[in-house]
Amino acid sequence: MVGSPVLLIAIPLLAAFLIPLIGMIWKESVRLIPGLVLAFMLVSSASMLLYVTNNSTIIETIAGWQAPWGINLVFSPLTGFLATLMIFLGFIVWLFSYRFKRNVDFEPAKKYFIFLMMLVAGAVGIVITGDIFNQFVFIEITSISAYALTAFYTGRNSAEASFKYLLMGSLSSSALLIAIAIIYSQLGTLNMADIADKMYLMPTGYKITALIFFFMGIGIEAEIFPLNGWAPDAYTEAPGPIGAAFAGIVVKAGVYAMIRLVFTLFDIPNSMQFLVVIGLVTLIVAETSAIKQDKLKRMLAYSSIGQMGLVFVAFGIGTAEGVFAALFLMLNHAIIKPLLFLSGSYLVFNSKEKKISEVNGLGKHMPITSLLFALGAFAIVGLPPFSGFWSKLSVLTAAANEGMILIIALVLIVSVVEIVYYFRVVNRIYFFEKSDNVVVQKPRINAMIAMLILGSIILVIGFDPDIVSIYLHKASHDLMNTREYIDNVLSIGQSLTK
């Protein structure tokens, strides 16, 4: 075991603070420090994940205050898995954007990497914290850096996208605060385990109201319909790698917060059905909206929203199998969608409008990037033998075991829609003629490595899904066992007070 969970949050925040200072002395450090920090975090988080998979959950109390009163960090198989995934993606995004376009200048690069560090710190914080208000703070940190990153390019409509995101984000934080206020007023505690422990004390009306406010607050981050109006715009206008970070990091954090609420904190059985319904609606609306898009990233954004809908459907099945499938889906989506965003951002690199029609015939001119995009497209629609297939299969199997035949049918019908729009793009890349005014941009070597890493992961998981299944099984077991979570967290406090 290397390091402790607190470092996963503290180090990137410290780095975000130090980057401009050290940057004054040595400019290149602005680009290098984030990489080093993320690499360290990755190693540390991965080794902790290995530890918690084989041993017990790591629980860290901050400043000596024990569980029910102080803030504590919980690095369990579930949270550790998600944190590792996010840090890994942060690293990929860093590697990809090491010298991406405008980052060549010092000033923008500085801002970009500061916010990237904050984004990763916030997202990791959301996942590993055990305190509900602390989670709110991390959500805000993530959101504010996400607003800033969305508005990164001054030339485009990015400010508009960012403003919409901010408008929704403010509503989200208000709703969260209200929900937290309700919970605190009833139970007098903010610790998640403690809340879960005492939840039976809370009157039903308050409980449901709090849950609804949480649904709204976190639903905005987790892109559920109809709270996801900001998402397509933000994905479209943010820089390509940031789109990847949104799909891989921010949304995953939102989904985690949501499922933690539904599975651990609240004991309302109908909320599972609600997840299924809202997930299906999100899936259907997003995928059908994607089919007629003429901008590449916007299409990917809708697809990303749709996938999140599917994740919620899988969680809503409510069995260990369903959770396993949902986590697998999250893992695959976190690998594949960033690959699509990264390769897609090079496909439309020099175009102003970022239209899908501008990728025509690029297969000959940028073979590897195009191939990786096609690989991503094949994987995300769930064609075997790529990784997406196994997660789709697990979702369907889990649904079938619960007898949800109609849901299987709907998911599969929507998958056909997904196939149509992804294949239309792939066809354009390979079988259309390139128009002359499209300028081809060869990817830099670091970007290429980042994309190749993602691509090879898709193939590896596709051919041998069992290399990740052990972690996923542990994580789903962790999420399903609320009692164990509560006992783990609260026992630390008791053992210290004794």
């Binding site: 109908n270 909206s289 033998p385 196994w390 697990s394 199997t397 019908i413 259309f432």
Partner: protein
């Protein structure tokens, strides 16, 4: 290492290596390609034996690979046709772009078909099925023609089929907690009635798409004619047979056990009959040889489906026999078209004519295949069709026999058109430079042509393995005396060999051929189509006077009302309608941030209002 693993790994590795190393030099690429098809083929036939299964676990699903007698029969088709077509492809595709991609896809599709045949469980069956779908999809769009229309149509239909199958698979998994096909078959009797209907239906949708059964056939003509001919030969010959393979298993092992399941069988048989008639009529109307053959494939698959739908032992025998024969002759015909297209640059029957003297070997192989296709006695097609008629009459399907007979008669029309359009007729000046295709293309074609003859003369060569397969499916054992089922063989004294009849026919044929040739030799004068000025009318320069122009106009006019209703237009109507609806739904995202905020507020207000209904405890 298990031989089955080795074979699949060799295919896969061959596909990757052909692509990567193929960039070094074309010769390495070609050698790699052919060897990575031939070596696993040889290994398969030498080392893999029926009944030896290997199994392993992935994600907690138990997967199992092995081969059954039925699958072994189909592996003859896949690997035999695959090897020949791959040899052909090397010569036919010479000089084209992106060949590494083409070859590795070719290998992948052969691999996936073998994988389907080797799968003893539903998940690996589905995985290979999907690999087959996308690798063949990449072939359909390979030439970059009509990709958004034809390619997407093919993939959407395949996906609908495949997902129907996937749905059945996960339901089966939830019911039996196992994915082995044998477990599905053994526990099928204990399913509830609705599941007994649902599962076979979903599986049948999947297989019907691949075997181009009406009304799910609309992808077939475009996809068949759009891919390079070397692959279409596989596509129509072997790939569509995977649908037949699956259909046979479902119909025999599952549908037979549904109470009142014969209705489903009848429906399938009738759909097969309609497919046969529709495919034939459309084939007659085509001027492009590829389209003609594509529709003809649809029609021929219709016969096979009729046989499967009837489901008597004799009908099964005929269906499987026709499946093998169709793979051979239709595979060969597509190769012929490929050769002609390569030599002349066109596959339009109204443009090319009189190739008989330019491409004699191609002509002979085409002749054999056409005779087999039309079902004329000496060659293989006859045996299959005879058995089909006999089984239809034997099971009292008199109306269906009329339908099938009509279709098979109408098939003469396009057979004749194909043969005549390309090879006979006047010789145009512009085709005078045409030469015979290279030997690497002619040899596979001739091998297939000879195969049609051999199997027509010694049908027992195929009937034996078919009989093994049928016994495995649970049909009563015939102890090798399966031919007693058919009058065809009985009349000739309990033997599978039709030699006396065949030799007599050949002798007569050869006699007349020799007679006519010698008699007409001196008087023969070769003219072009424009050589009709003696009749007082001077044709314009660009007027198309080829014989095949408006070949069957009166016939087509007669069947026009029937052909007006194209199911294709309904599908595209549905597709366009859906897209219009989807275009409307995305307008939910108005672009106004305030509206989004309003949605959020409405969302929470609605939830709060109905909170007790939604979450009430």
């Amino acid at each position: 290492m298990e031989m089955i693993y080795l074979i699949l790994v060799l295919f896969l590795g061959g596909a990757v290596l052909t692509w990567l190393l193929g960039k070094i030099s074309p010769i390495i690429r070609d050698i790699l390609f052919i060897s990575s098809v031939i070596i696993p083929t040889v290994l398969f036939f030498m080392n893999v034996e029926v009944g030896h299964d290997v199994s392993f676990q992935v994600l907690g699903y138990k997967l199992s690979w092995g081969i059954s007698y039925l699958a072994y029969l189909f592996s003859y088709i896949v690997l035999g046709l695959g090897s020949l077509a791959s040899v052909y492809a090397v010569a036919a595709m010479k000089g084209k772009k992106n060949l590494g991609f083409f070859y590795s896809n070719f290998i992948l599709s052969i691999m996936s078909m073998m994988g389907i045949l080797l799968s003893r469980d539903l998940i690996s069956f589905f995985i290979f099925w999907e690999i087959m779908t996308w690798s063949s999809y990449l072939m359909v769009v390979f030439r970059g023609k009509d990709v958004q229309k034809v390619g997407i149509k093919y993939f959407v239909f395949s996906a609908i089929g495949a997902y129907a199958m996937l749905m059945a698979i996960v339901i089966v998994n939830s019911l039996t907690n196992s994915l082995l096909i044998s477990d599905l078959v053994s526990s099928f009797g204990s399913f509830s009635l609705s599941m007994k209907w649902l599962i076979p239906l979903l599986l049948l949708i999947g297989f019907a798409v691949k075997s181009a059964m009406m009304p799910l056939h609309v992808w077939a003509p475009g996809a068949y004619s759009n891919s390079p001919m070397a692959f279409t030969s596989m596509f129509s010959g072997a790939l569509s047979k995977m649908g037949v393979y699956g259909m046979i298993i479902v119909m025999v092992s599952l549908v037979s056990y549904i109470p009142n399941g014969f209705w489903l069988k009848e429906t399938i048989a009738w759909l097969g009959g309609i497919t046969a008639v529709g495919g034939t009529l459309w084939a007659v109307a085509q001027d492009d040889a590829k389209k003609l053959l594509a529709y003809s494939s649809v029609a021929q698959l219709g016969y096979i489906i009729v046989g499967i739908g009837i489901g008597t032992p004799l009908a099964m025998l005929s269906a499987l026999f026709m499946a093998v024969m169709h793979a051979i002759f239709k595979g060969n015909l597509f190769l012929v078209v490929g050769a002609i297209e390569r030599q002349t640059g066109t596959s339009n029957l109204t443009e090319v004519s009189g190739l008989i003297r330019k491409m004699p070997w191609t002509f002979i192989s085409a002749l054999f295949s056409i005779i087999a296709l039309a079902g004329i006695p000496p060659l293989g097609g006859f045996v299959g069709k005879w058995m089909l008629y006999e089984s239809l009459i034997g099971s009292n399907h008199y109306l269906l026999v009329i339908v099938v007979f009509f279709s098979s008669t109408a098939a003469f029309l396009y057979s004749y058109k194909f043969l005549f359009g390309f090879f006979l007729g006047q010789e145009e000046k512009e085709w005078s430079h045409i030469k015979e295709a290279p030997a690497m293309m002619v040899v596979p074609m001739m091998i297939l042509a000879v195969a049609t003859f051999v199997l027509g003369t010694f049908p027992g060569l195929v009937l034996n393995p078919i009989d093994n397969g049928l016994q495995e499916l649970g049909f009563a054992s015939t102890q090798g005396r399966y031919w007693e089922m058919s009058a065809l063989f009985n009349e000739w004294g309990n033997q599978v060999m039709l030699q006396p009849l065949v030799y007599a026919i050949i002798a007569v044929f050869l006699f007349f051929a020799a007679f006519l040739t010698i008699k007409g030799f001196k008087h023969t004068r070769y003219v072009t189509t424009k050589d009709i000025s003696s009749s007082g009318e001077v044709p314009k320069e660009h007027e198309n006077l080829t014989f095949s122009q408006n070949f069957f106009q009166p016939f087509l006019r007669a069947v026009e009302p029937f052909m007006k209703r194209r199911i294709d237009t309904y599908y595209s109507g549905i597709g366009n309608g859906l897209e219009a609806i989807f275009d409307f739904t995305r307008r939910i995202y108005t672009g106004n941030g305030q509206t989004y905020a309003l949605y959020a507020v409405i969302f929470i207000v609605v939830l709060l209002m109905f909170k007790n209904a939604l979450f009430g405890l």
